[in-house]
Symmetry: C2
Subunit: 224 residues, 2 copies
């Protein structure tokens, strides 16, 4: 006798799959976030996403219209908490602009370093080049909001005399670039390079430089 199932009950040969209309979307989304993050947009096969989510490609299409819609959903779900947390932090903050800037950058850093986000941030920065609608989506829904926040913080610091007078818009970009660089680095070069970045050292150094760079104590004329 072929022991088709465990135990004495040979009536339920353990169904090959189950219906879970309500949990599927989340399962698929989680798998998509992982795999998109690991391999990038193009290299992600929907069949693999399905497999990791415990279903088939067909099921993926049952819940998401297309690859690019799935991607957007994955990004949205992963990034929203970060944006929300950061906006809240700015709103509630009492105290120096220095501390606030530190807090905001650190919050972003934590999110990016410790969640599935790393991979997705890198992705957005990079592979969206050939998909203008994805680029626009990311820019409008996330990047711009983040930058607006940073501009606000820097402007506030400048007004209170805690920061130098700088071009606020450009400074906001300068200040995030180390974070973005880290995201790109980790997912592009770290895997092929012997020595990994010491992440916390890197972040702390970048914060040091940024804070010192914005400090008004400076009276050097810097560039000609």
């Amino acid at each position: 006798m072929k022991p088709s199932t465990q135990g004495n009950n040979d009536r339920k040969p353990a169904p090959r799959w189950r219906r879970r209309k309500d949990t599927r979307p989340a399962e698929i989304l989680a798998a998509a976030q992982e795999i998109f993050g690991e391999r990038g947009y193009d290299a992600t096969r929907l069949e693999d996403v399905g497999r990791r989510a415990g279903c088939t490609k067909g099921t993926v299409f049952l819940y998401y219209e297309s690859k690019s819609e799935l991607f957007k959903a994955a990004v949205r779900e992963a990034m929203s908490p970060m944006v929300r947390d950061t906006e809240q932090a700015v709103e509630e903050h009492q105290g120096s602009a220095r501390d606030l800037l530190t807090k905001v950058l650190r919050l972003r850093w934590e999110h990016m370093a410790r969640t599935r986000l790393t991979g997705l941030v890198k992705l957005l920065l990079t592979e969206t080049g050939k998909y203008p609608d994805l680029a626009r989506f990311y820019n409008d829904e996330f990047f711009d909001r983040g930058q607006a926040l940073l501009r606000k913080v820097i402007q506030k610091g400048a007004d209170k005399g805690e920061f130098r007078k700088v071009d606020v818009e450009q400074a906001a970009r300068v200040v995030v670039s180390p974070l973005l660089f880290a995201a790109v680095w980790r997912h592009t070069f770290e895997p092929v390079v012997p020595a990994p970045i010491e992440l916390d050292e890197y972040f702390n150094t970048s914060l040091e430089i940024m804070l010192a760079g914005l400090d008004p104590a400076h009276v050097h004329e810097t560039v000609r």
Copy 2:
């Protein structure tokens, strides 16, 4: 009589193509640099490269082994001058470390902002993720050399007391990140966003912040 050609000479019906064994490689390389830069690695069709170079896909393969070899050649040709110039600048420099750092960063900036390089730098940072050999190639042949140079400059400044004591390796990364961010930005988001970055403003602001950030005049303790 069928007027096969212009004028009186009906013997040379304008050849459909010409032999140019010696100029083809360069033509193809130039086309490849442009198109890779515009569209990224995957989205680049060798047929399009051929067309822009004035030949067919078949001819491309006559001079380059494969797509990835063509890509490496394109990158090598585009990046070498920058690396060479920068290394030379460091070698020959007399004067303050501040000036040297400024010079090196500005040199890189000029190269990246004004040549076909922008597109390729962005590419390397991004799409190489799924092609480990390309990532390794770029890291070994270019990125590492550039970073070594920056470390040297920063170390020198620290030794002479012109810069603060910082984690040199991390600082070298922080200092380039605005440049890399700009490369990514221009090729990913600028096309889909109304207002472009004011490039020179951006660079100057970033230089300001970096130089001030490394200045030893600072006695704040910055981060806890």
